[in-house]
Amino acid sequence: MTAADFLHAPAEFLFGPFGEFAFMKRALVGSLALCLGAVPVGVFLMLRRMSLIGDTMAHAILPGVAVGYLMSGLSLTAMSIGGLATGLAVALLAGLVTRTTVIREDASFAAFHLIALSIGVVIVSVRGSNIDLLHVLFGTVLALDNGAVAFLASVATVTMAALALLYRPLVIECIDPIFLRTVSRAGGLAHIGFLMLLVLNMVAGFHALGTLLAIGIMILPAVGARFWAHDITGLLLAALMIGALSCWLGLLASFHLDLPSGPAIVLVAGGLYLASMLLGANGGLAWRLLPARHLEA
């Protein structure tokens, strides 16, 4: 074995599948596009202490997706429209109730997602069809066609543009909503706009990873990044890097070990989170266990 061969083999192992197979290439492009939108949304979810609300949103889009499926079969367009509709309805109603009544955001989301979920279950059982929900639940990143990749890229573009626009009011709304209310009406717009981005990215995520796992690529990179960065800018960059790394390594694992691709991506993200928690430069557990004398100031 020559030196060139020796270098060639790992490169082939790490990058080969994406050059050789068009479906792997589309899966990588699609999941990276998903990251660009979903990861920053996840960072704000975490900072707003809404990490678990993402889960309720995953359930909220499920009934819409099921209705779309019942009406037009395995059509991505129909299922996306259905998911967007129920997701937006739940997000907007929950957001409005939070802003106008004594109910807090978590309780408000819990209430509306349960209503949506039960409506979904009723529809599915009344129609009594034997749907293969696995596709919806666990996604099909390896089966992304060009249309789906274009959809993921569009969502990422819209999300990044909207986040750039909403960034300042959204950050202030997270830190000090009372202050924002006294100087501007932007808080409400930022809040509702953010919830719409959340739904949009959940729907995009379900194409690639399925409704149950879409939230994984939002939250895991965000909480992992918390162990590497001090400020919001660093947090967004670190989370994007963890997200992109998860997609690449997850797809590789899926290819070489013959694992389902969506769970593989989210598992890698979970592994990177655990590694960050142990080794992260900003509060990682390992550093606490090392004996270290306190500083002078």
Partner: protein, 247 residues
């Protein structure tokens, strides 16, 4: 002298239960007004009404400017200190009126932010994340943000509570400077000595107006709060509809 705020039979409260009834009166532009009263007297509610966070149940509050001309310091600020933001960026919020959603925070604005941080004695802390600031430093940061808001009307709800003497003294000096610049300042306070020493006018509240006028006159009696305490009543779930009308 022009008026900064006019209360016209104002009732403020929550879910039809008034926290303050039928308040009428005028705050002149440039006034330095102390609002005192027992706990639950409606002092914070009054400031919330002025800041536009609470709509009057009855009556009208007429203000000289719009909502952009108000800088408001809430009682226990609900700042999420865990949010990873630097002191500099935190203070920069105060410039919202100039920067808004998208305008760049460039040279002139950066100099203003640096000056505000300097004025509260936090120079050198610009890059620190707000989570690492002490209680007193955080209060200074909030004052820097107020300073940057550059508003003609300042509303301060218990600005010196739970901070050490030196910090309170520095921040009081800032309030006096604002007064000197002709700004209107309304502050909720508990420290009677501070009120006596620095605040020319005082409003005593006990769910309605007990007294309003020159501090020297109002705080002349041995126990100025006695009348106020007597007037305090608890929230009554089954209170009858208030029959009082504007005088």
């Amino acid at each position: 002298m022009s008026s900064a705020i006019t209360f016209d039979n104002v009732t403020l409260g929550y879910e039809r239960h008034p926290a303050i009834h039928h308040l009428s009166g005028t705050v002149d532009a440039g006034d330095l007004l102390a609002v005192i009263g027992p706990n639950g007297a409606g002092k914070s509610t009054l400031l919330k009404g002025l800041a536009g966070l609470l709509r009057p149940l009855e009556g009208r509050i007429a203000m000289a400017g719009g909502r952009r001309d108000i800088a408001y310091l809430p009682q226990r600020s609900q700042v999420d200190r865990a949010f990873p933001l630097s002191l500099f960026d935190f203070v920069a919020m105060g410039g919202w009126r100039r920067t808004g959603w998208l305008r760049r925070i460039a040279g002139g604005e950066r100099a203003r932010i640096a000056a505000a941080i300097d004025a509260v004695g936090l120079t050198g802390f610009e890059g620190r994340v707000i989570a690492t600031l002490s209680g007193g430093q955080m209060q200074r940061a909030l004052f820097a943000r107020l300073l940057l808001q550059d508003a003609p009307l300042m509303l301060l709800d218990e600005p010196f509570t739970a901070i050490d003497e030196a910090t309170a003294k520095d921040l009081m000096a800032m309030v006096l400077r604002w007064h000197g610049e002709g700004r209107t300042v309304v502050a909720v306070l508990h420290d009677m000595d501070l009120v006596r020493a620095h605040f020319p006018r005082t409003l005593v509240l006990a769910r309605e107006q007990v007294a309003w006028g020159p501090t020297a006159k109002i705080l002349a009696s041995p126990d100025p709060m006695a009348a106020a305490r007597k007037m305090m009543e608890a929230w009554d779930e089954h209170a009858a509809i208030c029959g009082r009308r504007a005088a």
